[in-house]
């Protein structure tokens, strides 16, 4: 404590030196006078009294110095001196300083930004207690790896497993909320009571669902997400105990879920409202064979491994399959770590980006190393002179160290700003592609680490050359006059540049291939014309007018008509079942006319189902291959018809004409329908991963021929609508107004153009392409700066040699050529080495996949066009980087250069 206090006072003393000095002087002066007074009193002569006092007291000036040092921090003052000197030195070479600082800032900045993203996305993707114990649980069925779990199976799994400390299910769902202002679309989840406790979510207000409150037939209750609670109710705690109306039914609010609950995996998304699963008003909830889109999540008991849990659940599934063979045969639990579900393919993509950014850092370090090496050679003479004049090695090393530190600090500070900006920019590039994107923040650990690396580079390449110089006899250094170059140092610089160029080739090749993949994908024909198509949803709560088939049909027809009246709408079709590329899918199960009806659903034929209206073709611009599409006369009372795609036609009818063939549909109940048309196949699963999905056959049914009761629901009517318009991006408010005019409780929401839908499917890919391209551009820039630096340095060192050459008759062209040749040779070696490395790296990249298809898609990893482009670009940039210093070399005035020596 005492020494701390003293240190503080001394530190303050740094800023009050002049006052302290005068005070000391006054004190010593008074001391001296008192001593003289005493000497006089003891009878000495005035002259003698003063002399004796001075002798006894020792040197006045020395004392003043000792006291001064004691009252401040001398080493700190030396540091300030060193810093001032370093700043002066660095300002003398602004280009060198700026390039080093910018290079360090770029290296530190991009690395910190990307590692910050990785830190959140890969290392902390789930903000819940003990995330390692969490697993996702799905029902694996022959056609679906991640199929839905029926409610009865969930209850049996819950009771019979021995591996989970908790097993829960959820079902994503939308509601129309009425009775509180304008009716509004609200998104939510049906969950089992175990869901929130299992994840470790605690209510911010009220309580969670009690264990048995999720059973069928219990009191209607609801929990609200804190965000929704704030938006809709101003975070009023008084809402507890009151009810809200969802789809026409009242639910009592019992608790609020914290806003920090931001889990997203599979099709679960933290949402506005949470209801007990037993509240789902569908009769199918009780059916063991029903596929209702219910999925599960569980927490492993402590110490239970994934393999043990899988074995345990296999036993449970086998038991159930034996008990309920009709519904449960071939069905088992599919257990995956929740982290894998949250992170998905991002892991491998981020690893690719990490590797790329590490290359950028290496190149940056090589650049800094090169510049410092060059500088130390130039300064050899300065150090030589100072050593010869008596400077200590210690002092010179300390000064070099100060300079390196200063550079690293400046680069680091700038890098910090760059990282902060870069992190935000990168995240905004990929809305939706990154889990927990809102939580991504600058990681101080990473910042410190990259900073340390660049600092180490500064020390390594700034200090060691300086040390080497101080170890040599000063006269040797002086004799060389800073002209002669050490062969070894030269080679180090050359190899650093070669490495930089090679690394840039690798990055450019990787980025080039990914850009080609993305470009190819964006031009993929999805089988329909997405431009001009708008997709949105409409819902209306139940009312007596629409709770019967006739009313429901009339209502839906009126919705179509209403939308058609909006100027700019050229075609409208409702769509049920699946919607291409949106992630929504539904399946029709069927069997052919010449086949007996299979006993189990899993033994039937499966096809992607689209329930549409006659105008669907006009909305989507899908081309008709044979026969006809639906017309308005394909009504409930007319013979049932279907339209199939080429894939289904080929798969089930081979080369036979499918028109007129009859298929048995399970939906509507065991109907026989005639194939009346064949349309072009439409990409359903995504532009790039159609091949990765098992189901390709597609079947279209007219909504007009559905059983009217299928349109009716106790919760009201919900419909997806596709519209073709010449202004899809701006037409939605007009449609909304038109629909509201028709019915005030009706809600239209979530407008999205098909172009946007397609862009979303490529979001993760676009994110990685843009980052990789940015990194490659940086690499190219840094490598060219490195090349420029080395050639400039070479020119600077050889000015005399070139002057002699020119004096002896070499013309400027020869000199220019000689310098360019050196640069091109370095770049050439780098390009060859880089190309070889790129062949390996891109092959590795090809094995990295994003949503089931490789990140290099549609181009071979050794794509000659990409490689040729990369080589040409790099050679061009290299030539440019060498040309500037070469011009300088050629414009040397031989006489002046020689005279200067």
């Amino acid at each position: 404590m005492r020494s701390l206090r003293a240190l503080w006072i001394r530190f303050r003393g740094l800023f009050a030196t002049s006052r302290a000095t005068s005070e000391i002087s006054a004190e010593l002066e008074s001391h001296l006078q008192m001593h003289i007074d005493d000497n006089l009193r003891s009878g000495m002569q005035a002259e003698e009294a003063r002399r004796q006092a001075l002798i006894q007291l020792g040197g006045l000036e020395q004392t003043r110095q000792t006291v001064r040092e004691r009252s401040t921090l001398p080493w700190f003052e030396y540091l300030v001196q060193d810093l001032r000197f370093a700043v002066r030195q660095l300002r003398k070479t602004p280009a060198f300083t700026a390039v080093v600082i910018a290079t360090l800032a770029l290296g530190i900045g991009v690395n910190t930004a990307l590692f910050s993203i990785v830190n959140t996305v890969l290392l902390h993707p789930i903000a819940l207690p003990h995330p390692g114990e969490l697993v996702s649980v799905d029902a694996s069925k022959p056609n679906f790896e991640h199929g839905s779990i029926s409610y009865p199976n969930f209850r049996d799994w819950q009771q019979q497993n021995h591996s989970f400390s908790g097993l829960a299910v959820y079902r994503h769902i939308g509601f129309v909320m009425t009775g509180r202002g304008e009716s509004q679309r609200v998104r939510g989840n049906y969950v089992s009571s175990s869901f929130l406790p299992l994840l470790g979510v605690k209510p911010v207000l009220g309580r969670l669902f009690a264990p048995d409150e999720d059973e069928i037939g219990r009191a209607p209750i609801v929990m609200l997400g804190a965000g929704f609670w704030a938006r809709k109710f101003g975070s009023d705690p008084g809402i507890l105990g009151h009810s809200i109306t969802l789809d026409g039914s009242d639910y009592t609010v019992i608790g609020i879920i914290p806003a920090s609950f931001d889990l997203a995996f599979g099709d679960f998304l933290a949402e506005d409202v949470y209801l007990p699963i037993g509240q789902w008003p569908t009769q199918a909830l009780k059916l063991r064979g029903a596929g209702l889109g219910i999925h599960g999540v569980a927490r492993l008991k402590p110490g239970v491994t994934l393999a043990q849990a899988r074995a345990d659940m296999n036993a449970v599934s086998a038991h159930l399959a034996a008990t309920y063979p009709a519904d449960d045969h071939d069905l088992r639990a599919n257990i995956m770590p929740l982290r894998d579900m949250v992170v998905g393919d991002l892991q491998s993509v981020l690893f690719v980006l990490l590797a790329a950014v590490a290359f950028v850092l290496l190149i940056a370090c090589a650049n800094v190393a090169n510049l410092l090496l060059a500088r130390s050679t130039v300064r050899a003479q300065e150090f030589g002179v100072r050593l010869a004049l008596g400077a200590s090695r210690h002092r010179i090393v300390r000064q070099v160290l100060t300079e390196s530190t200063l550079l690293a600090l400046a680069g680091g500070t700038l890098g910090l700003g760059l990282a902060a900006w870069g992190t935000r920019a990168a995240v905004s590039l990929a809305p939706g592609a990154l889990p927990r994107a809102a939580q991504i923040h600058l990681s101080p650990v990473v910042l410190g680490l990259t900073f340390l690396i660049s600092f180490a580079v500064g020390i390594l390449f700034g200090l060691f050359p300086a040390l080497a110089i101080t170890l040599r006899a000063p006269q040797n250094t002086l004799r060389e006059g800073g002209r002669t170059v050490h062969g070894s140092r030269h080679r180090t610089q050359d190899s650093l540049v070669v490495f930089e160029v090679a690394a840039a080739v690798v990055l450019l090749a990787g980025a080039g291939l990914m850009i080609r993949s993305l470009a190819g994908l964006s031009h993929t024909d999805p089988g329909f014309e997405p431009k001009g198509v708008l997709w949105f949803s409409v819902a209306t709560p139940n009312s007596p007018a629409i709770d019967n088939p006739v009313g429901a049909r009339a209502y839906l027809r009126q919705v179509d008509q209403q939308i058609r009246t909006v100027p700019g709408v050229s075609a409208v079709s409702q769509i049920g079942g699946g919607i291409p590329l949106t992630g929504d899918d539904d399946e029709e199960l069927f069997w052919l006319q010449n086949e007996p009806k299979p006993a189990a659903e899993n033994d039937m034929h499966w096809a992607l189902l689209y329930l549409v209206e006659p105008d669907y073709m006009k909305v989507m611009h899908i081309s008709l291959v044979r026969g006809r599409f639906f017309t308005d006369s394909d009504r409930e009372d007319a013979p049932h018809v279907v339209v199939i795609d080429e894939d289904l036609a080929h798969q089930f009818f081979g080369n036979a004409n499918p028109i007129g063939q009859v298929v048995n549909l399970t939906n509507p109940d065991d109907t026989q329908a005639t194939v009346v048309g064949v349309v072009h196949h439409v990409l359903h699963w995504g532009l790039d991963n159609e091949a990765g999905s098992p189901l390709h056959a597609q079947i279209y049914l007219p909504i007009g021929q559905l059983n009217g009761w299928q349109l009716v629901s106790t919760t009201g009517i919900f419909s997806d609508i596709l519209v073709r318009s010449d202004r899809p991006a701006t037409i939605f408010p007009d449609i909304q107004r038109a629909l509201r005019r028709m019915n005030g409780t009706q809600v239209a929401w979530r407008p999205k153009t098909m172009d946007q839908v397609i862009a979303d499917t490529l979001a993760a890919r676009r994110f990685s392409v843009m980052l990789l391209a940015a990194f490659a551009a940086l690499a190219l820039l840094l490598a060219s700066v490195g090349l420029y630096g080395v050639i400039s340095y070479l020119v600077g060192q050889r000015t005399r040699e070139m002057a002699i050459r020119m004096a002896l008759g070499a013309n400027r062209g020869n000199v220019l050529l000689w310098v360019l040749k050196r640069g091109v040779a370095l770049a050439g070696i780098g390009i060859v080495a880089g190309s070889l490395a790129a062949l390996l790296v891109t092959r590795l990249m090809a094995s990295v996949s994003l949503e089931k298809s490789s990140i290099i898609y549609g181009v071979p990893p050794w794509d000659p066009l990409t490689m040729a482009t990369v080589i040409v670009v790099l050679m061009g940039v290299a030539l440019l980087a060498c040309y500037v210093p070469a011009r300088r070399a050629a414009s040397v005035d031989p006489m002046r250069a020689l005279r200067a020596e």
Binding site: R2, R5, R10, H31, M34, D38, G58, G59, R70
Partner: protein, 120 residues
């Protein structure tokens, strides 16, 4: 820790560590005192065996002040000269007690070594 300043005559130099305890003790006995008075008093008590010059005394005073053991303010001396007066603080009083005790212990131990052996 012997002072590096050249010795004056045959007078012994003061060790830095012991100088602090002497300064503190002097201030305890005499009350507030200026640097010259402290130096004089120490020389007197030592029977003029010790000699103090500025180079020794003032850094020591500064150090004690920085550590909070003494405080200073400008005043007027007996013969009307402006001088800086030092006084003991509470911290300094405690430090004096502590150091006096450990000094006594240390000298007692050394004395036991140097006095003729009582056993064997």
């Amino acid at each position: 820790m012997v002072n590096q300043e050249e010795n004056m005559g045959d007078k012994a130099d003061v060790w830095q560590g012991t100088l602090a305890i002497m300064v503190l003790k002097t201030l305890e006995t005499m009350g507030p005192q200026h640097g010259y008075g402290i130096a004089r008093r120490i020389e007197q008590i030592s029977g003029n065996l010790l000699s103090l010059n500025y180079g020794t005394l003032y850094p020591a005073l500064l150090k004690l002040e920085q550590e909070g053991a003494i405080a200073s303010e400008w005043g007027t001396s007996d013969n009307n000269r402006k001088a800086k007066f030092y006084r003991l603080t509470r911290v300094g009083r405690r430090q004096l007690e502590r150091e006096a005790r450990s000094w006594e212990e240390a000298t007692a131990i050394v004395a036991r070594f140097l006095s003729p052996a009582k056993e064997g």
